[in-house]
Symmetry: C2
């Protein structure tokens, strides 16, 4: 490891990062110089003295994970990663925030070498970090044997005051403390400034005391601008703390070195040419030059990089021995690294006939989980305190808990997330971001996915294969009333790019939806499942479901009207179609469990399902918003629900066969 | 005040509440008996010994406010309110959770006498309570004079473990502590049980230490099942604490008295007839009888009610003197009580011509706020740490802050909410729920309304007139990239019932949107505003805007194609239409600032805007989801955004006049 004492080269390196960051923002004429200039010291100390990584192979499994939770400080991450030798050139730094550059405004996974998670929306990063740390704890317990520490990494995050004000961060901290994630280390950039001014105007809680109350190990560094040794010692102490996550409050000056340092003015706008020049002078750099990396800094960082290269070599030697000794475990590791699913599990998915009993789709989902969770150990998941209602605790599941509590084990795969929907979603994203083939799921009532919207968006944007198992998906919840009856939620979700919204109508569709969700390695899925029993349908199949939508039943003659439904309303369509056909009105029934998958089908197929000039009536126990895409008219709920037994609520909203049939007739 | 010592009548009363609650759930065969049976003692003590209210006039301005944050315990609230003499009969208790009853599954404002806020979604209630306490502090400082305490009430909330796990509760606690809301008192029903089992499986933080870190006064009652005196003394001490909010951890047994007490089994399902009988026996009641209120309990509660009647009489006498001495203040109070807006303000709204300069709609919004906030003191609002970007801090605004901090005053009306979008929204709802004509607003970037979705839903469901001023409403944010560029958000919002989603296209439309929002006393509004400058349009007007949508410009001949846009894309439509008209293709331009208002217009008008058989191309820098309602084809963004200067991003997505014109031609 590089010399643990600190000297001139460190000061020079820190100021290099500060100047690079200021230059990037100035050249882009857009961005955030303040946090990078303030966080340069902690970043330099972390990445040169503590962080285990091989910048030449950012996929090394055993690398430490880093999350820049205050993602607006992206110039910091890019400039440090450039110095470290990741695939980010000086030109990339100059192209900061430009069209198609490798250095977008906020860190985006997939865009830039070494970036683990997409950050920017505050509070998400620290929550993803909890997911990353859970993943490590789980894999270490599952795969390590004796002295073979195949999985053995720390998860670091830098967070700002903004992150620590967001509700999600408290949920994350509460759960991380509960899980005793000793290898999670948070560096808190305490600069006392937020966009509106001093934190004193709104954020006066005792942050460290709060974290301590949540079960964390807490430390403070008085002078985070200059005292590199203190930062390093605090990180060392945090690493030594094995059964509590750590937070180090590092007092810094935002925009350190600039004329406007210590004020909100340096947060989100370029310093201006004058202040960039001023900053360079005050930091010992030539104000006439830009994007300068002094050769001794380059040399220093090259040595750090080389250490990383060597570290991976040593790891690989160790791993070879491990693989020889534990070939089955190694084979499993290879499978999961390559995102390959085991073979044969698909054949075990349950199939049904219309003679089978009516069952709630949440219950049918449980049947599938009992199979796939036992077949595919990369599935991990849990519930936001609704395990018995969501029915997601599969047969034989073991709770993920710190082993010393006696309540479970880190090799367990079921999470009691608590009533914390938002961080549940962000932890799913974080586990997925570990990049080891994980398929995380979370569950709650569909209505409460609203609490998690901020993280659902990042599931889709970051292409995480996560599955939201959302039960109690309509007014079918009955007596709990409008606060628990989703109405707008389903169209809400359909508006997201890269998100499959699935609402299966029976057992075959549940199996088909899981099959599609588990095979979609870069698209998250929301499964909307009923509380109430619904019948098994004639005409459904796993294969049909994989098309997103299909003709469930056709009349003897050319259809004059089409009834299209999803989930629990498909059986209503079947009954309404019977009424129509009995009256001599030829009615087709279409089941459309997933719009997005249906829209991926060839146009010809889609037109075979919805032929032009045949009127279409949609039936869904939700807001009709969006249905005009397929339907001429809609039966739905364009108001909030009501509290009453479910059958009465369906009747109240006209979601009964005779009303549907009458409405269909009006389309003729 | 009723005798402060506790005796047999109190025990009997507590057990009456327990048995009534168990009966209600059992008869409904649905609901939550556990929390009511555990919380009966604290409720009884609160409402008989401390709570200021006149059950015969639940609108009394000076009443204490009560929020049942664990709304699933609704049977508790209904049974206690029945005893207190609110307009809830024994029959209403028997009709619990039935169709059209006064006693829905979760408390719903407007459905039941005395219910202040709709609760059920966890964490919302305690956050609303912070809003209620802010409202009181603000009004007391604004209207009280000398010994005349016209506004003088406590805000109480009962919360469970679930509420205290949700992220929003921490945001609420942090801000309440910061604001030193001494008249906010939270009773924490600490029963150690949540739905998945013991709280030990997921919630092991030190709750009181956490609240203390957040600036709260904390107390604990060891035996909340029996020690009524300790509960009462703790409430007394909390009332005496004037500059910190208080939380009292009251240790209780969920389902107290039942066979299954102390387990999660009593949380969310009826006890069953056997256990109801067992409970009654153990609580000293006849297991053969149901819905029993012993006459001595009735008498006791009647006396409490009578005290409330007298208290209001005394208040009214005081108020009469106040009104005589301060007629102008009294007139203002009357105006606001009656939800009347002052006259004449509308005439001051700015109007523009197409010769005026291009301005960002967020800036135009600032111009309107500078007028209306100075005209209408019932407008209060703030920003989630983006004041300078949202431009919502109006001219002459004063910060709401505890006076002793020297940073503002309780009579101030601007809130630095911090980076806490979710509780910002819930506080807006809480302020509105004070029912004194408040029009609260909150502001952040449109993208981050996703963090507040759980509370936005309740704004709409509870018919709160609140205004979400959401700036940076599209890819127009440019370099910040996809994490900050809303795409799915606008259609998301349009799917809500009872929510106006407005996206004004220029200055006249901004004025019109505010006019509509400020006059809509039972509908919340989301204003989507640009970061970037956009031109003033020929043909726009306040009056047109009030229709939700209108023909902005027409060609000389009958239109062959219609371009419809919202916000910043309307001017793109105008340019594209020019290109088309220059080529001899008659193109109309429609501006559609608010779909929901447009849909309220007569069919004839709507058809005059969109005549049948004329193809329509929609243009909006957002997901095209939902546009099929009006449009034949759409220009939009069905993917996430990109980080680059705004003009390049618009070009990337084809949102430029020539591409739009080409697409329009294909519709002919």
């Amino acid at each position: 490891m590089v010399n643990q004492t600190f000297g001139d080269i460190d000061k020079l390196s820190v100021n290099t990062i500060r100047c690079l960051s200021a230059d990037m923002v100035q050249k882009a004429n857009s961005g955030h110089p303040g946090a990078p200039m303030g966080c340069a010291p902690m970043s330099h100390v972390l990445f040169t003295r503590h962080f285990k990584a091989n910048p030449k192979n950012s996929n090394w499994l055993s690398r430490d994970r880093f999350v820049l939770s205050n993602g607006h400080a992206s110039a910091l991450q890019y400039s440090v990663y450039h110095l470290l030798g990741y695939d980010i050139s000086l030109q990339d730094l100059k192209d900061f925030r430009q069209y198609k550059s490798k250095t977008p405004g906020h860190p985006e996974v997939g865009m830039t070498d070494g970036i683990e998670v997409t950050t920017g929306p505050l509070g998400q990063g620290i929550s993803n970090a909890v997911g990353l740390a859970i993943a490590e704890a789980h894999l270490a317990k599952t795969f390590n044997r004796g002295d073979y520490k195949v999985f053995d990494n720390y998860t670091y995050a830098i967070v700002g005051d903004g992150c620590l004000e967001e509700g999600i961060n408290y949920e994350a901290a509460s759960l991380a403390g509960h899980y005793r994630l000793g290898k999670l280390i948070v560096l808190y950039d305490a600069n006392g400034i937020q966009i509106d001014g001093s934190v004193e105007i709104t954020f006066t809680e005792n942050v460290l005391k709060r974290f301590e109350a949540q079960g964390w190990h807490v430390q403070e560094v008085a002078d985070g601008n200059n005292d590199l040794e203190a930062i390093s010692k605090a990180i060392e102490a945090a690493k030594a703390e094995t059964n509590r996550p750590s937070i180090i409050k590092i007092n810094t000056t935002i925009g350190f070195g600039s004329q406007k340092q210590g004020t909100e003015k340096v947060h989100g706008a370029p310093l201006g040419n004058d202040d960039v020049a001023f900053s360079k002078k005050s930091l010992g750099f030539n104000p006439e030059e830009s994007f300068v990396v002094p050769p001794e800094v380059k040399k220093f960082y090259d040595a750090v990089c080389q250490e990383g290269v060597e570290a991976e070599k040593n790891y690989n030697k160790m791993y070879e021995k491990y693989a020889a000794e534990y070939p089955e475990l190694a084979a499993e590791i290879e499978r999961r690294k390559q995102n390959k699913l085991k073979e044969g599990w698909e054949d075990k998915l349950p199939r049904f006939t219309s003679k089978d009993a009516a069952v709630a789709t949440r219950k049918l989902s449980q049947g599938v989980l009992n199979i796939v969770c036992n077949e595919l150990p990369e599935i991990v998941g849990g519930s936001a305190d609704l395990s018995g209602s969501n029915l997601t605790q599969w047969k034989g599941s073991v709770d993920f808990q710190a082993d010393e509590t006696g309540r479970g084990t880190y090799s367990g795969r079921f999470f009691h997330f608590g009533v914390r929907e938002h961080v549940m979603a962000a932890i799913m994203n974080g586990i997925s971001a570990y990049r080891f083939g994980f398929i995380p799921f979370g569950s709650t009532f569909l209505n409460f996915i609203a609490y998690a919207s901020g993280a659902v968006r990042l599931s889709a944007l970051s292409k995480h294969q996560v599955i939201y198992i959302m039960t109690h998906d309509s007014i079918g919840v009955g007596e709990d009333g409008p606060t628990h009856q989703p109405v707008e939620i389903i169209p809400n979700l359909r508006a997201y790019p890269n998100l499959y919204v699935m609402r299966p109508a029976d057992g075959n569709e549940v199996s088909g939806c899981y099959l599609k969700a588990l095979k979609s390695r870069s698209t998250p899925t929301v499964l909307c499942l009923t509380r109430q029993n619904i019948p098994q349908l004639e005409g459904s199949s796993i294969e049909n479901t994989l098309k997103g939508g299909y003709v469930l039943s056709d009349p003897a003659t050319t259809p004059k009207v089409i009834l299209v439904g999803t989930g629990s309303e498909v059986s209503l369509c079947v009954e309404a179609a019977k009424l129509l056909n009995d009256e001599g009105i030829a009615a087709r029934v279409v089941s459309l469990p997933c719009w997005e998958v249906f829209d991926e089908q060839p146009e010809e197929y889609r037109e075979s399902v919805f032929p032009k000039n045949v009127p279409v009536l949609s039936v869904e126990a939700a807001s009709t918003f969006g249905w005009s895409k397929y339907a001429t008219a809609s039966c739905g709920i364009d108001n909030f629900g009501v509290s009453a037994p479910a059958a009465q609520v369906f009747k109240h909203f006209g979601l009964v066969p005779d009303v549907i049939a009458e409405k269909a007739k009006k389309l003729l």
